[in-house]
């Protein structure tokens, strides 16, 4: 018998899960709170580790979404209730009974203004990695608020990651490589510019990441091992930053035209309602908790509820797609049993 699966979230994780579960012969409903599919990736210009257009990824997934898949756009899931083995999903404009749920509701970006000492929202030439990506989409290069082309740009790693002060003790995983990617793109779009990356550790763990790091070094990007302590505004709205070169134990100060805060991945607040409806506890970092770290990475602790992608913690596009496919297979096995 044909079963119904509700997928919460229409980012790349939800899209991929919809495609796979539909292929496995089940009826699929995707609930997306925005007006279009694609989530965070749709707002990105290029992605690591090969500087591929993010648009390409979204387009390829969109092409695979068949007409059989029911997409509910602008549908914020308000309540989920469980009746025996099935679930009732109530969104602002419809109600659906499903046999299984895939939670693919993603993440929120860390709010940079919480690190007040970095001056985001206070100084005009302090931007986030997301703002920079938007500049690349808009003009193909970064620019200062007054429209001028910046000549000195500093990337600040770990903003809202590995930081007890903002209750984000985990590593957001994708920002290091994103900073390296963006530094390369800044250098390619403004070859005469000086680009600095201020890092705590460079976590280049994925395939191709280390190569990108070497490429950045070869392009003359300066990597400084030290964390930004504070930023202040000086003449012409430039930014004075203070850090330490911890490799030579010397404090550094420098004036730059633009600083880019590499904001981390935070748990989505909207998830909390869904988790509590489903009687699921978030993990210690606030993300949806997986049932087993090694063997059930896409099971939740509730039967019939599967979780994938960045709602379980920071992950790359590749991780998200893998998790989606894994969840899809698990959903299929589960539905064949009940």
């Amino acid at each position: 018998m044909r079963k119904t699966v509700a997928i919460i979230g229409g980012g790349i994780t939800g899209m991929e899960a919809a495609i796979q579960i539909n292929k496995l012969g089940h009826t699929v409903h995707v609930f997306e709170k925005d007006e279009k599919l694609g989530g965070h990736v749709a707002q990105w210009d290029h992605v690591f580790p090969n500087q591929r257009k993010a648009r390409e990824i979204i387009n390829e997934l969109t092409c695979q979404i068949s007409e059989e898949i029911n997409i509910h756009l602008s549908s914020f899931v308000e309540k989920i209730s469980q009746i025996d083995d099935s679930f009732v999903i109530k969104s602002d404009n419809n109600e659906l009974k499903a046999d299984a749920i895939v939670l693919a509701s993603g993440f929120e970006l860390f709010s940079a203004s919480k690190k007040e000492e970095y001056g985001y929202g206070i100084f005009e030439n302090v931007i986030t990695s997301v703002d920079l990506e938007r500049m690349f989409v808009e003009k193909g290069h970064p620019f200062m608020r007054n429209g001028e082309i910046p000549q000195r740009i500093a990337f600040i790693h770990c903003v809202g990651s590995r930081d007890e002060k903002v209750k984000r003790t985990y590593c957001s995983k994708v920002c290091c490589i994103t900073a390296v990617k963006q530094a390369i793109e800044v250098k390619e779009s403004i070859p005469e510019a000086s680009v600095y990356n201020l890092y705590m550790d460079l976590r280049m763990f994925g395939p191709g990441y280390e190569d990108m790091y070497q490429k950045a070094q070869q392009k003359g990007i300066t990597f400084i091992r030290g964390r930004l302590s504070e930023a202040s505004e000086v003449e012409n709205n430039r930014i004075l930053i203070k850090t330490e070169d911890t490799l030579s134990s010397r404090p550094i100060k420098m004036t730059v035209d633009l600083i880019v805060l590499m904001i981390g991945i935070s748990p989505s607040l909207a998830n909390n309602q869904i988790l509590s409806d489903l009687k699921l506890e978030p993990n210690k970092d606030g993300f949806a908790e997986i049932a087993d770290d090694h063997l059930s990475p896409t099971h939740s602790k509730v039967k019939g509820v599967f979780i994938a992608g960045a709602c379980t913690g920071p992950c790359s596009i590749t991780d998200a797609i893998n998790a989606s496919r894994s969840a899809s297979v698990e959903v299929h096995h589960y539905l064949n049993q009940v």
Partner: protein
């Protein structure tokens, strides 16, 4: 300059606004592997001269990078050019050649 209300020891502070990058740039042109250093310290720990003196190639790289040409030139004299660091370097930096370039700069003042 904004006053933060405190300041670290002035002689220790690296002021990037006044840093002279010429020597670093010259070295990087002579040997493009220079920029690949990740400051892992393999070179310094294998260094023959370093067993008997305070010489460290990793520190030399920092001196070059942070515009301290004079110190780099002086330090480079301690090296015995045995080349162990070149064999050990995980980034394949031609460390021995870089020392030779620093010495060459000391003799010829190319800048």
């Amino acid at each position: 300059m904004k006053d933060f209300g405190f300041s670290p020891m002035k002689n220790k502070v690296l002021n990037f606004d006044e840093l002279n990058h010429d020597f670093h740039q010259w070295i990087a042109i002579q040997d493009s592997s220079f920029n690949l250093c990740i400051a892992c310290g393999t070179c310094a720990s294998t260094c023959s001269a370093g067993s008997y003196t305070h010489f460290s190639f990793r520190e030399l790289c920092k001196d070059i990078r942070w515009g301290n040409a004079e110190k780099a030139m002086k330090e480079s004299e301690k090296c015995m050019l045995c080349g162990k660091c070149s064999i050990a370097c995980p980034r394949n930096i031609n460390t021995r050649n870089i020392i030779k370039m620093v010495r060459k700069a000391a003799k010829t003042s190319p800048l």
